[in-house]
Amino acid sequence: MAESFFNEMYDPNGLRAPYRRLEGWYQDMPNEFRALKQAEAEDLFRRYGITFAVYGEGGDPDRLIPFDMFPRVFAADEWRRLERGIKQRARALNAFLSDVYDRGEIIRAGRIPADLVYRNEAFEIAVAGFRPPLGVFSHIVGIDLVRTGPDQFYVLEDNCRTPSGVSYMLENREVMMRMFPHLFQANRVAPVDNYARLLKRTLASVAPAKCDRDPNIVILTPGHFNSAYYEHSFLADLMGVELVEGQDLFVDGDFCWMRTTQGPRKVDVIYRRIDDAFLDPLCFRPDSSLGVPGLMNVYRSGGVTICSAPGAGVADDKAIYTYVPEMVRFYLGEAPILENVPTWQCARADELKYVQEHLSELVVKEVHGSGGYGMLVGPRADKATIEAFAAKLAENPSNYIAQPTLALSTCPTFVEDGIAPRHVDLRPYCLVGRDVELVPGGLTRVALTEGSLVVNSSQGGGVKDTWVIAEE
C-alpha cells in the first residue's frame, strides 16, 4: 500500500528536482546535532510564545504544535500553476458571495440549488442586498490542498471566514532561517515575510468610502483565552495595528470608535477573528458579549468595513464546496485549474445509500465541522467505530458529506531514527482586496503518526516550513 503514495522527494526515477539541494543536508546530519537543533527550535517557538490550545482537551494550554525541521518544497513551475489555481478559486468564491447577496444569477441560471444557499445557516439575511467595499466578502481565503501525484492537486475545503495558521507559516520560516542559514544560501527560497504588509494593504484597500484619511485598521479578537490569541497578537504586532476586544470598541452615531487613552478614535476596518453570530448582539445573538452592539448598523450604512464580511461563510460550507468548480466556469468563464475531491452529499438519498454501503472506504465529515472533529476515516476505523458512526449518519444524513480516502502525498519527516515519509497537506493564504495576492508558501501540516492521514493539529499533526524555489 505504501508504494501507492506519491513521495514528494523521491519518485520512481529518484530524487525530485526541488529537493535536489537538501539531500546532503539531512544525510550528513549526526543524530546528536539533530536533537540539539530540534531542542533549539522548540526553545525559539516557546520564546516567541507560539502555543496552541486544543479545544476541549484540557491539559497544558501552552502546548506547542510539533515542528518538523524537514522543509516541504515546491518547484517554481509547480507553484506557478498552484498560484493561478488558488487565485482563480479565491476570485470565484468572492464572485459567488457578491452574487448570492445580490441578484443570485447563478441560482436563477439553475447552476446551484436555491435552498442550498438561501436555507443555509451561514446565509445572513441581514446583509442581503448590501455590497461591501469593492464587492469583496472574503479578504483572506485559506484553501486546503492535498496532492496525490506530480500534477494532481485537489482542494479539500475552502475557508472564507477567518482561516487561522498563517502565523505558523511566518514563524516556521523565521525559525528555519535562524537555525539553518546555509540552506537558504544554497536554495533560492522565495520569501514570505511580506505577508503582513500585503495583508495590511489589502485591508486598507477595502476601507469604507466614508473614510477620507489613512484608514485605522484593528484586529478584533475574542480575547486572550482563545486558542488562536497568539496569532491575533502576532499579526497585530507585525502590521502595527491595535488588537482589540469587543469591549474596546463602541458605536456612537454612524461610526465605530476605539477607546484609547487619548479618547475615542474612529475605526475604519475591522479584521475580525470572531464568528458572525457574536459580532453584534443587536443583530445576531443577543447574549454575545464578545462583539460590539450596533456594529452591523454602522457596517450596513457604510461607516466601517468588516473583514471577512458577515455572511461570507455561505461560500465555504462543505455542501456548497461541490459547486466551486461550477462557480469558476460561471463567473470567470474559465476552466477550473484546481480540482475538487469527488464528494457524495448524504442529503441526497441515492448518494447516502452509496456512502452507507462503503463506509469502510470513505472519509465522512460533518457539513459544518472543522478541525478534524466528528469525522470518520473509514479505512482506519474499527468495526465498532464504523457502526456507531453509521447510526449518527442515519439520524441526520444531511449533516454529512463523504469523500474517497485520498492517497495523500508524503514528504520526508524527521522521526526517531532518521527520516521517514509522512502525509502532508497545504494551506496557502490568498489575499483579496483591490488586488488578489498570494505569498509563495503556506502552512504545510504533517500527520506525524506513521500511516495517519489526519493532519489537524488538534489530532496530533505537526507543521513544516513550506518552500517555493525561486526561478533560476
Binding site: 442581503a128 448590501f130 463602541f250 443587536l282 443583530c283 450596533g294
Partner: protein
Amino acid sequence: MILNVLHKTRYEFATPVGGIIQSLRLIPARCEGQTVIDWRVEVAGAVMGEVFRDGAGDYIQTASLRTRTSNIEVIVNGTIETRDCAGVLRGHRERVPPRAYMRNTPRTAPNRAIRELAEQALAGMEAASALEQAHALASAVHGALPYLPGATHAHTTAAEAMNEGAGVCQDHTHVLIACAHLADLPARYVSGYLNASEDGTPHEASHAWAEIFVDGLGWVGFDASNESCPNEHYIRLGSGLDAQDAAPIRGLVLGGTEESLDVTVVIEAQQQ
C-alpha cells in the same frame, strides 16, 4: 385612511446607567399600502444615526446615548396614509430571497402539537393553491390559540405557546410561521401597528402578524389573531425571522439593567 400614531417607550432605571444603544425599526416601510405624510423618531439626548434601508426593505436607525441617565424615552410621532391591498405586500423594494425565510429559530421551531395542527389544517388540501393553504393555516392557528393576554411572555416560543393553549399576537405569529414552514411556504414575522378601535378611542395598538410567500402573488400578510389579512388599519414597520429579529426596538443598556419599561401607543384615524 389617514392614521396618526404616537408611540412612547419609556425606560426607567433605579440607579443611573452609563447610556444605551438601540437599533430602531420604527419608520414604516415604503409600499403601496402605506405612504408616510410625516414621521419623526426621537430619543431625547441621543445621537441618531443615519437612516438606511436593509435588504428586507426596512428602515433602520441607530440611537446611542453615552452619558449617565436614569431614564430614556423613545418617541415615535407620525401621520401616514394607508390603503387596503387585501393583505398583499406590493411595491415593497427588498433584496432578500423568499427561500431565506424557510429557516426556523428557537422561537418558531415546531413541536408535535404544531405538526399536528398543520397536518389537520391541510388535510385534503394537497391540490389547493398556496394561498388557500396559507388561509387554512391562519384560521387553524386562530382556532387553536384563543387570545389571552398574560398567558405567555416576551420570550415564549411557538411550541411553548401551543402547550399553553393560548397566547397573544406574537404567539399566533410564531405558530403560524412554524406551520407555514412545515407546508414548505416561506414565512416571516412582521411588526407594526393596528388601529383596532372603530370609534377612535385610544388603545394598545402595537401589533404583529405573519407574511407568507405565495408564488405569483408575493408576500401576503396573515393576522391569525384577528383571522384576517392586513388592511388599511395596519401599519407595517419591519420584518424578521421571529419577534426578536423583527423587534421595532432592539437595545442594550450600558452598565446597568432595565428597571421598568412603559409602552404606550396611541393610534387614531384622522377625521376627513
